[in-house]
Subunit: 458 residues, 2 copies
Amino acid sequence: MSDLKPLFSPKSIAIIGASKNPKKIGYELVYNIITGGYEGRVYLVNPEGAEIMGLKSFTSVRLIPEDVDLAVVAVPAVYVPDILEECGEKGIKAAIVISSGFREVGNFELEERVVSVVKKYGIRMLGPNVFGLYYAPSRMNATFGLSRVYPGRIAFVTQSGALGIAMMGWANLYKIGVSAVVSMGNKADLDEADMLDYFASDEETKAVLIYIEGAKDGRRLMSSLRNITLKKPVVIIKSGRTEKGASAAASHTGSLAGTDRIYDVAFRQSGALRAMDLTQAFDWVKLMTMQPPPTNENCIIITNGGGVGVMTTDACEEAGVNIMPLPEDLQSEFKKLMPVFGNFRNPVDLTGQAYEESYYKSVELALRDSRIGSVIVLYCQTAITDPVAIAKAIADACEAQRCSKTVVTSFVGGAQCEEAMRKLDELSIPSYPIPERAVSSLAAYYRWQRYKLARAKV
Amino acid sequence: MSDLKPLFSPKSIAIIGASKNPKKIGYELVYNIITGGYEGRVYLVNPEGAEIMGLKSFTSVRLIPEDVDLAVVAVPAVYVPDILEECGEKGIKAAIVISSGFREVGNFELEERVVSVVKKYGIRMLGPNVFGLYYAPSRMNATFGLSRVYPGRIAFVTQSGALGIAMMGWANLYKIGVSAVVSMGNKADLDEADMLDYFASDEETKAVLIYIEGAKDGRRLMSSLRNITLKKPVVIIKSGRTEKGASAAASHTGSLAGTDRIYDVAFRQSGALRAMDLTQAFDWVKLMTMQPPPTNENCIIITNGGGVGVMTTDACEEAGVNIMPLPEDLQSEFKKLMPVFGNFRNPVDLTGQAYEESYYKSVELALRDSRIGSVIVLYCQTAITDPVAIAKAIADACEAQRCSKTVVTSFVGGAQCEEAMRKLDELSIPSYPIPERAVSSLAAYYRWQRYKLARAKV
């Protein structure tokens, strides 16, 4: 970990290829680093020594009078080896090479020269061909992606630059807090395994989400996964699953997507959770950063609508979440909280007449019972009840019980349900617009929990 | 069809059990029918002859001086047989029985009495135990659900009342236009098959979405499905797929969920499209009401991001959408529209530098070519391009080509992408926040199209 400190938490940064033209990447980088709140020293390097955003620039990194930890390089590809040579002489220990025009367009030789320079000086390099690195603890936005990011506890690691920028946008839109965004690019030096090793001991990161098309060193990736998944969950999207997808991946990042089944088994054996699309991946990490893992295999569904109760039961059964048969004492407790035509078996159906109080008492009852390990709370829009008030009742019950079980919620309906879900999310009680997404997230959490328990037994 | 005209398009309605208490269903019904814009005559029936929303009420349906087509009944269950008897004597031909307290709570005998009365008078009855019927062409909101509904071309038919209300909310929230919402309740007389027969020849309805837990008469349902699916797509959510789900369905609606495999085969053989959750179902009907079905099996992906291109290719392969190998002449045409590091094979990658013009020209090129049957257009957020402008370029190209192929889009990213997608949806170019949902919808359309072609050959 310590050799990546200059990359993630540099005391000073040199932006090489800084530009005063707002349409250039070399300007975006300066803008994002300065306005992002980074508190270390920033030096600009520009061949003409231009003044950019009020900062003077140096004509060479060698002329910077003080030590520099990290170089962010955005110059034409052909100059990159010489620039890195200068960085090495200057004693810079980390570099983010934004420049493209290397292996990804067939310039293998140029990329090899870059590699030999960084090896010679012991520079740890991200790239080339990346959109940058954002790291919340350092308030460092060394990307040409979005200038504002919603800070939090999830680290994104992505082999696709475009997807990385889109993920930053999504995180902002859905208020999913991000600890880091790392663009992997050509992985000429650092790769996903290095990132996993770093995030394994990064206290600011609670979960990692990776997009990958192919691994450089499968064995090392697996070993890093096995290490980190004992501590925190890792959700992986591995594309190129199909023959045509793999061939598209080959022309995109030059990745050998490999036999998908091998990846699938490798991920499972190393405790990584494979998501099939971005929604799934975001849903899962959202739960995992908000709630503790389930304490046992017994899950209970509390609903006000029979239909969504049935749908949720199906989803649980199919995803391996155990809808526990309720012990009789619990049945009679629940029976007191509903009209005669309610259902006090699991799924517990409070009926469409359930107001705040019956939600509060039912959730409280479920949370208090040590036989229950996870709770799915559903609300289906009615003409007579107020979803926002019910959301508050659920949150109050969780708080009153100092909740240590996994709670997920789904509010199915219109604008008021949306508002209720936003409130729940803000209180770290994850909610989803359809119950199946809540179940999919809970099931993923269970899979990770089971993996850890199995490892602990070995 | 004609015998359901009094139900869907009554010239006059009697609301029996109208109430002046705003907390009662009998008030909600009056409110929704009056404020919903229904233009026929409305008569209120209330034992005390109360004045409700400025309307005088009659103490009995028999005292109404003119003919009545439809009775909406919301009185305690025990009075329902007598009330329907009066309706029969009055010559009323259709009834919506909102009242609950029949078979669903074990009162089989009471429900049988209701059935014998409606049989005796030839009344076609929806219910009992329903939340009502909304029908856009009549501007009739005879429900105690939401008072405002976004009108359009999709008919909802639901066995779960709560889900029906929630669906109305969703439709409003996502601006998915609805032609009808039908709550099926206990299906003592009318069932899903009757609704399908009606919507088959209803010109206002372009697609039907059904939620069902169990069929009353499987054979008749299948026959009605086979009839309607030749004309318009039907998307079904059938829950109770698993053993525990089926048992939950039994306590919810008393449905015998039956062996799921049998339903699955029956749906497939009758051309119905089975969706696994609400998001899928809404996604599919959205596409089917906005766009024509694909003209041939060849699909092309146009993207600005390699990563989403790979993910979309995987999804297409897995869902049976054929990513066509591009003929050489098309390859060289696309090559002109992208930088050297773009990809002119399918998926066509215009790269992150693609602005409005290259999107416009690429979409135009794809739409003009008769070898292509469907087009997936993707946009992945970048720091330099404007998703809203690109959405407009896509829409312009579709309009310029008087598009007769299926176009679906997905804009992956933050708030601006959301805005771009709203614009596209408004122009009937369906868009989805992740490409997999666009693919899933397109694949469902293809399945329906193939079914129709296969039937035409027989």
